[in-house]
């Protein structure tokens, strides 16, 4: 997954920011596939990390779906993001088992530590927090999945200490890379 750098989001500035070559290839591939809109949006999000306005406008032009319709689809499903996200996407499970096992306390810890709330990205662009419905690892509740350029990793049986530890490890790693 390619993640876009945060910043310079002004649409006028961003006019030529997007390279549509990879998207074009995909659009061609699924041209004849019925009901391809969600698949296209998923691929676009893979390429750009989120769904920028310009990309939605481009998809609209290429597929003939109105922008309002695409926007409607993109805002219906929780998977789609209209804003860029941080390098590490924390998906905190809020399923029933996790709820019963204290996922709300975990959320408080993360929010306090990162100074963001659900759906937000840290100022340094390292973390984004998303509450998700259920990751399906209910026996390990509370659970979170962290997704970054390497892939995704699931962490189970979370405690306050464990979460802080995971966050600081990622921070260290990011600092090193920087």
């Amino acid at each position: 997954m390619k993640l876009q750098d945060i910043g310079s989001q002004c649409p006028c500035e961003a006019q030529n920011k997007f390279d549509f070559a990879e998207l074009d290839l995909f659009l061609e591939k699924v041209e004849d596939m019925p009901g391809n809109l969600i698949v296209i949006l998923q691929q676009a999000q893979n390429i750009y990390g989120y769904l920028p306005r310009e990309v939605i406008a481009y998809i609209s032009k290429k597929t003939g779906n109105s922008q309002a319709k695409i926007y409607g689809v993109a805002t219906f499903y929780t998977q789609f993001r209209l804003q860029p996200i941080g390098k590490n996407l924390i998906m905190l499970c809020q399923g029933t088992a996790c709820h019963v096992s204290g996922s709300q306390d975990i959320e408080t810890v993360i929010c306090d530590e990162l100074k963001i709330s659900d759906g937000e990205t840290t100022a340094d662009g390292v973390f984004t927090l998303n509450n998700v419905a259920c990751l399906g690892c209910c026996s390990l509740a509370p659970v979170m999945m962290i997704q970054n350029s390497v892939g995704e990793e699931t962490y189970g049986n979370l405690t306050k200490e464990k979460v802080l530890d995971i966050i600081s490890q990622i921070r260290e790693k990011e600092a090193k890379e920087a």
Binding site: I56, S60, N65, S66, Q67, A68, I70, G72, F76
Partner: protein, 574 residues
């Protein structure tokens, strides 16, 4: 096909039915007006408001809009449970609704308000929690034609289905979900920046004040009260067969003489008829068409009277713009003509001519504000008022419309032929053009045109017209409803059809069904159309060439200026 008679029991009463598509139609047929907020027989069934529910013999609650009637079925429309559920649903609606009813443009014509009164909702109950509704959506005033107030939206989706299914425009759609569900353009951007064509059909079907038509009544009053202004009005053909409905006159009745009387009482200085410039359009457009036909230029020629269609073509089919007639619409011809005509007069008496159009249409507002129609810094048409807006002014001034003595239009621009009058209905422009094209202009021959397929309220009409030269057979299509245009264009692009001439009106049924008119379904639009045809038949002059004012104009103010005053080049034309 023989229709087999079937029966169902409604509230214990045996009711026959044949091929009604849902229980709702059967129930309404027996005189019970089941409440609905999201149902129009002309749109697809959506089933979100749940108000039309009925109870079957097993105690199941079913929505009558989405359930076909079955032989032997027993339903009740009014039971304690149904009453309770309907009331609860209305309370839920109202709990998240901006309830500033007295200042709402839809006050007294709002379907939600109407049902709240019918069901005696005197307490909302559900609006007291911490999570209660906040009146905090921004109102979108950006469009010249309509105002969008999401605080009043009940998410019934009527506008979405109208904009997408019927009109194929897709400027608005649902966004988000659950309690946050809303209807908006992409990215919630201002409507003016979208592909919206200003047809206003969304506002026509909106049951509440969420989408309303803009009417600049205060500005018109201001002009009327200004002694330095000569307020000159033009009234479009479709207005006269709809305004009467607002004042308790018969559906479709032609009330033009009363309109003239009312407008004079309101203070308009001169009242003219757009049918006059419609005649002018017929002359110009027919010449353009015959010229293209003769020279073998690319056809079809699309009509250009409907500004919503022009905008649609610009947005979705810029490649077709070169085939859209260069004629200005009758409204704009009137504006530029009258301003040129009045120049001398204005210099003499120091007044300024202000042109006000009374239109069945919301897109005419957008058209009038286009920069192509600005001459010397002022708009050719200064203000546009819808049929409903005119009714508002009449109400406000206390004029009792029903009791007005009929009056005649001003001259010279109150002179029109029956052909010009036809512009108010789908197929009318085409019929007027045919009247000019045919050589035998006897009454019988003109009357017989109606049998060629040009009349009727169908969305797509296709027919062939053999010319009197015995050689040419014109292939003609008449469409209303932009979704139908799209179907036609697809057919042409696929090489399945060719036409010489295509008339397009954005609103289903043509201008009689414009979004500025009192709301009516197709049966009502048809009554209006029938009345226009009847009025045409009563005119002494049936084809535009007969209009006695025209030669005078062509030799006068139009001399050497027809192109400048009567034609337009949109940037997308090339």
């Amino acid at each position: 096909m023989t229709k087999t008679q079937k029966y169902m029991k409604i509230n214990g009463e045996q009711v026959p039915f044949t091929n009604e598509k849902n229980i709702l139609s059967v129930v309404r047929k027996v005189g019970i007006d089941l409440p609905t907020l999201c149902y129009y027989s002309e749109l697809s069934v959506y089933g979100s408001c749940r108000m039309c529910m009925v109870e079957d013999q097993k105690g199941n609650i079913i929505t009558s809009c989405s359930t076909p009637p079955k032989n032997g079925m027993e339903i009740r429309t009014n039971t304690p449970r149904l009453k309770q559920y309907r009331k609860t649903i209305l309370r839920l609606y109202l709990a998240s609704h901006s309830r500033e009813c007295t200042t709402c443009p839809k006050n007294t014509s709002c379907k939600l308000q109407d049902l709240a009164i019918r069901y005696g909702i005197d307490e909302i109950k559900f609006d007291k929690t911490e999570k209660a509704y906040k009146n905090d959506y921004k109102i979108d005033h950006s469009s010249t034609s309509i105002t969008r107030n999401p605080n009043k939206c009940i998410q019934c989706g009527d506008c979405v289905r109208m904009c997408n299914e019927t009109q194929n425009v897709g400027a608005i759609d649902f966004a988000l979900r659950g309690y946050e569900l809303k209807v908006c353009p992409a990215f919630d951007m201002p409507l003016a920046e979208t592909e919206c064509v200003n047809c206003g059909q969304c506002a026509a079907v909106c049951p509440t004040g969420a989408i309303t038509v803009k009417d600049d009544v205060p500005a018109i009053w201001k002009a009327i009260f200004d002694d330095k202004k000569r307020v000159v009005a033009q009234v479009a053909p479709a207005v006269r067969v709809a305004l009467g409905e607002e004042f308790g006159l018969g559906d479709g009745e032609n009330v033009m003489p009363r309109i003239v009387a009312a407008m004079r009482k309101l203070g308009f200085d001169e009242v003219y008829d757009s049918s006059f410039t419609a005649d002018l359009t017929v002359i110009e457009e027919t010449n353009e068409f015959l010229n293209k036909l003769e020279k073998g230029e690319k056809l079809p020629l699309f009509t250009s009277c409907c500004p919503a269609w022009v905008k649609y073509a610009e947005e979705k089919h810029p490649e077709l713009m070169s085939q859209v007639s260069t004629c200005k619409s009758p409204q704009q011809m009137f504006g530029s003509l009258i301003k040129a005509y009045d120049k001398e007069r204005n210099e003499k008496d120091g007044k300024e001519t202000v042109v006000v159009s009374i239109m069945p249409c919301t897109a005419k507002k957008a058209e009038a504000s286009r920069e192509e129609f600005v001459t010397g810094g002022t708009h050719d048409v200064d203000m546009v008022l819808t049929t409903n807006g005119l009714a508002d002014m009449i109400y406000e001034s206390g004029i009792v419309f029903k009791e007005l003595e009929p009056e005649a239009l001003d001259m010279p621009f109150g002179m029109y032929t029956g052909a010009g009058l036809l512009f108010g209905v789908t197929g009318g422009v085409t019929e007027a053009v045919i009247r000019k094209v045919i050589k035998d202009k006897s009454h019988t021959n003109i009357n017989n045109i109606k049998f060629c397929g040009v009349r009727g309220m169908e969305g797509i009409k296709e027919f062939e017209l053999p010319l009197e030269d015995g050689e040419t057979i014109l292939k003609i299509a008449v469409v209303s409803g932009l979704g139908n245009v799209e179907k036609l264009i697809e057919k042409m692009n696929a090489g399945e059809a060719f036409y010489h001439f295509i008339e397009v009106m954005a609103c289903p049924g043509g201008c009689v069904g414009g979004a500025g008119q009192p709301f009516g379904l197709m049966d009502k639009k048809k009554l209006r159309a029938d009345m226009l045809y009847a009025s045409d038949k009563q005119t002494q002059m049936r084809h535009s060439d007969e209009n006695p004012i025209l030669p005078e104009l062509y030799n006068g103010v139009l001399k050497g200026r027809t192109h400048e005053l009567l034609h337009v080049h949109y940037p997308t034309h090339e």
